[in-house]
Amino acid sequence: MTKNITPRRNFLGISVALATAAFISPMPAMADAVDFSDKTIEFVIPFGVGGGSDTWARFNAPFLSKHLPGQPTVVVKNQPGGGSITGASQFASRAKPDGLSILGTSGSTQFPYLLNDPRVKYDYKDWKVVLAAPTGGVAYISSSFGVKSLADLGKLKGERLVYGSQGATSLDLVPLLGFRLLGLEVQHVFGMKSRGEGRLAFERGEANIDYQTTSAYLKSSLPIVQEGKAVPLFSWGATDDDGKLIRDPNFPELPHIGEAIEMVTGKKPSGTEWEAFKSFLIAGFPAQKLLVLPKGTPDDIVEAYRAAVRKMKLDPEYQAAKVEALGGYEQLTDKAGESLFKEGTTIDPKARDWVRALLEKEYNARF
């Protein structure tokens, strides 16, 4: 019996408090407060079940559910097709700004947007960012060239480097542009279905330069490095709060790509080619996954989401799980998230034209 009394008393207490509050506090604020009780929020993922974006969404969904006002149910809804263009375009045309539909995009959604792909029917400028989830990656080379570190890169003059790529306009555009800036002559063999397949080609000895995102690198490529078969060269880096490229916190001993270019060329990287590269670099790594709200979402809903993310980040359960799930990168919201969002979804038109021309001329891309 005693067990039953406490909740009821609490319930009564809360009711009384609420009733009092309703009388005392100004009415509009109460009426307007965002409350998702008994609501279902659709977390649209424009990719299939089981991919990187899907697992990212499924990791975040229960925490959002827990910390959003009214503890709504958050369900992940997969809308695959067109390398995420289909799902994102549908979201842009259909989602209502009531906070009940959210979209998770990835580098594969950002890239065609940055390249002005005609199939893209969405505009990042319309959307409000809630969360930005960075990732990183490490490039490494076969030890057969006798290169011990980035400093020996000169030894590669005239060597035939081969990279297993997922396609010139895919996320592998970043290594394509990055290797160029480093002055490396790399043959890109397309048709890999994942970065994992690229790594397999490296392990078979078919490719001799590769990169992996952080978690895959630590799990699968580091053992190859430890066996002495591969040598890490550089990381793609991370960004600080001002959007400046810094070393990846997971690999403080490795130079980031900007440093690498400077070491090889002797100059701080600059110019159109660098600007173009940097836009895709940020869209592909520091701002790889973005959680956005549809066009015209009222500020109080945006704020409710951001508050939920702030609370989520303090949740001990989240902190215990995040290293495994997010590969040691902190998800960002508020100002830091917004600055990443901006950097990762804008490109200088001149830089864009330069990349498009390169892709059309050398890699048969059609826009």
Binding site: E42, G48, V49, G50, G51, G52, D54, T55, R58, F59, A61, P62, V75, V76, K77, N78, Q79, P80, G81, G82, G83, T86, R119, V162, G167, A168, T169, Q187, V189, F190, G191, S194, G196, E197, R199, L200, A201, E203, R204, G205, E206, A207, S215, A216, L218, K219, S220, P223, A321, E324, A325, Y363, N364, A365, R366
Partner: protein
């Protein structure tokens, strides 16, 4: 290692893990039985529950689900002639004739026991080899993978039926449809007809359902009889098990084949059932019964498709590269559990690997046991007039097709492929050859291109390439010796015997007109292939251009033979005429069945899926099945409830039509 094995075993025996494994098995059997739904749908159903579960229980659940899909899907394949999932397409070829002869019980029990043995075999190999598999897997490079694709294509020879030329052309059509979408080398979009949907290519599940399910359903609706001609399931439960054990060596070979195909990343399990089937036909001394109800034709694919999973887990766990379609989703599940696959799966995480292997073995046994148990009640369905089952099946098939991209276009493409399938069936163009071409198309092209880039033409001198090349030639020769017709016996011509075939290809040109029109349409398709691939860049066009050009020549020859050759030529075939010749013609045509599909798809694009399927089911039951109003409505209600429940757990919106575009509707109507 032994310690890890033991503690994995003990860990799994706890009540909680076992219960989750059972849950996985139940879901796996369910999606297996429902045609078109397979591992991906099963994973999507279980995904929401995984997060936060303890690792062992969640793995037990996922593996349990994956393990039994190729066991459960046998029901639909054998009893209805509709593949329960893409893993059991070949089972249809002999399983369905057995069911029609009243030997469903024998076919099912042979299939389940073969599945069980295959599954356990795969699990054993996984256990024994996972620790040392890495160098073996790495020794297969893109050059060998290309050769394997060719070896797979050589099976077409076995399945070609009466006319080898027709088999090659059907395969060529598959190759061309498989080339739709982005070229692997350049990313250029090919054959997309300006339709965005086709830029990603046509999904395999839609090809499978369109080729096999739609024509079969159309035929069954047309005849409106129960599936089984004879009464009684037949005794045969023991007979089937005995059949499996009598063919133990075949089971062993096909299991090894399945495990191997699964273990080599990039071979893909898409056609493992056909390869095993072809292997069984090639190596049988007397292959005359294949296609007519040969029990070996059931045992071979069923042991291979279950063994596949054990093999497919190796690259999935070791490299994080999925060895089959459902493994891709399993991989996502692992990541969600905080497990990154990689070399540590055979070092620090070895215990988990063994947990997976044990679960696979357990689930294969438990899954087969449940199937035996369910067999009698489920098999009764074959005695129910098909018109009573048809609306439900059509609904499920549409639903399954819609899972591919969650787009209304899924249904339109399903319909289009279905129409092609109906005609391929009628005019004797082997659909399995089409399917094999389709699956291996992108593999062959992609690996050839990659091998050339990596090695240049010297790749043909690699020892592995030479060995597989020799195997391919041997397989082709053997295939030509034992050709299996999709519609019946191993062809007598192939064995050099006199044919006593009645003239069923049409005696006059007028009778052959439908065949000629269809062949000319095929010719036009290949011409389109030549013309539209010519302007592309060299790397993007070389494969589809030469395939289509070759097919233009072959099809041109066929058209000529259809027009000028004497009646009885192997180029002539029309099932309708054959049925007439046998006196089996009942005066019906397939068009009313097609009409029903048009009715459903047309309505869906206007009213959206749920409203349309409700109207469709009710109308069908009242008009075609001649059920009363009350019963029809009850049936419809149950169907819609079932669909909505599935849709809810898969968090999807059903295809919307014009109506939904203008009017706001609540779920599931929206």
């Amino acid at each position: 290692m032994l310690e890890a094995m033991q503690s994995a075993f003990v860990g799994l025996l706890s009540f909680q893990h076992f219960a989750y494994m059972l849950l996985g098995i139940v879901v796996g059997l369910g999606v297996g039985i429902l045609p078109g739904l397979g591992g991906i749908a099963g994973m999507s159903l279980l995904m929401p529950f995984i997060y936060g579960m303890d690792q062992v229980s969640a793995l037990a659940m996922l593996v349990g689900m994956v393990a039994v899909i190729p066991t459960g899907d046998t029901f639909t394949s054998v009893l209805m002639g509709i593949p329960g999932s893409s893993a059991s397409q070949a089972t249809v070829l002999d399983g369905f004739p057995l069911a029609k002869k009243g030997q469903a019980a024998r076919a099912l029990s042979a299939a389940f026991s073969a599945s069980l043995l295959g599954g356990v075999f795969g699990a054993l190999l996984l256990t024994g080899f996972v620790v040392v598999a890495k160098p073996l897997i790495l020794s297969f490079t893109t050059a060998e993978l290309f050769m394997f694709a060719l070896l797979g294509l050589s099976v077409v020879g076995v399945l070609a039926g009466e006319s080898i030329m027709r088999g090659v052309i059907a395969c060529g059509l598959g190759l061309m449809v498989g080339a739709i979408g982005a070229a692997p080398a350049t990313g250029e979009s090919r054959f997309d007809l300006g339709i965005d949907y086709l830029v990603d290519g046509v999904p395999l599940v839609i090809i499978g359902l369109g080729l096999f399910a739609i024509p079969e359903i159309a035929d069954l609706i047309r005849r409106s009889r129960p599936i089984a001609a004879e009464s009684g399931l037949g005794a045969g439960w023991l007979q089937g098990v005995r059949d499996t054990f009598k063919n133990w060596f075949l089971v062993l070979r096909c299991s090894a084949l399945g495990t191997f195909i699964g273990a080599i990343p990039g071979l893909g399990g898409g056609v493992v059932d056909w390869i095993a089937y072809g292997h069984a036909a090639q190596t049988s001394k007397d292959a005359s019964n294949f296609g007519k109800g040969e029990i070996k034709g059931v045992i071979a694919p069923e042991s291979a498709n279950n063994a596949l999973q054990g093999g497919a887990l190796m690259p999935t766990l070791l490299f994080g590269i999925p060895g089959s379609g459902s493994m891709a989703v399993f991989l996502g599940g692992m990541v969600l559990l905080g497990l990154q696959p990689g070399p540590s799966m055979v070092t620090t995480d070895l215990e988990l690997t063994y947990t997976i292997a044990w679960t696979l073995a357990f689930s294969s046994i438990v899954g087969a046991a449940i199937c035996f148990f369910l067999a009698v009640p489920i098999a009764r369905l074959t005695f129910v007039p098909f018109n009573l089952i048809a609306p439900f099946m059509i609904m499920i098939i549409c639903f399954a097709a819609f899972q591919a991209r969650r787009d209304l276009t899924d249904l339109l493409v399903l319909f289009a492929v279905g129409i092609v399938g109906i005609f391929l069936r009628r005019f004797g163009w082997p659909r399995p050859a089409f399917l094999i071409g389709f699956v291996l198309s992108s593999q062959a092209e992609n690996y050839l291109y990659q091998a050339l880039q990596f090695y240049g033409w010297e790749f043909v001198q690699r020892p592995g390439v030479l060995i597989i090349g020799a195997l391919t030639i041997a397989s082709t020769l053997m295939a030509l010796r034992s050709r299996v017709s999709e519609e019946g016996a191993v062809t007598k011509e192939a064995r050099g015997e006199e044919t006593d075939r009645p003239v069923h290809g049409g005696a006059t040109k007028a009778e052959r007109r439908p065949q000629i029109v269809f062949a000319v349409l095929l010719l036009a398709t290949f011409l389109y292939g030549v013309m539209s691939s010519a302007p592309l860049s060299f790397l993007g066009s070389v494969f589809p251009f030469y395939t289509s050009a070759l097919m233009v020549a072959f099809t041109g020859y066929m058209v000529m033979m259809l027009v000028v050759a004497k009646p009885g030529h192997s180029a002539h075939f029309d099932q309708e005429l054959a049925a007439k010749a046998k006196g089996a013609d009942d005066g019906t045509t397939v068009w009313p069945s097609v009409g029903w599909f048009v009715f459903l798809f047309g309505m869906t694009s206007v009213l959206g899926f749920i409203i349309s399927i409700a109207i469709f089911i009710t109308t069908f039951l009242m008009v075609r099945t001649q059920l009363g109003v009350a019963r029809s409505l009850l049936y419809t209600g149950l169907c819609i409830a079932f669909m909505s429940t599935l849709g809810h757990y898969l968090t999807l919106d059903f295809p919307a039509g014009l109506l939904q575009h203008y009017v706001e509707m609540p779920w599931p109507l929206k």
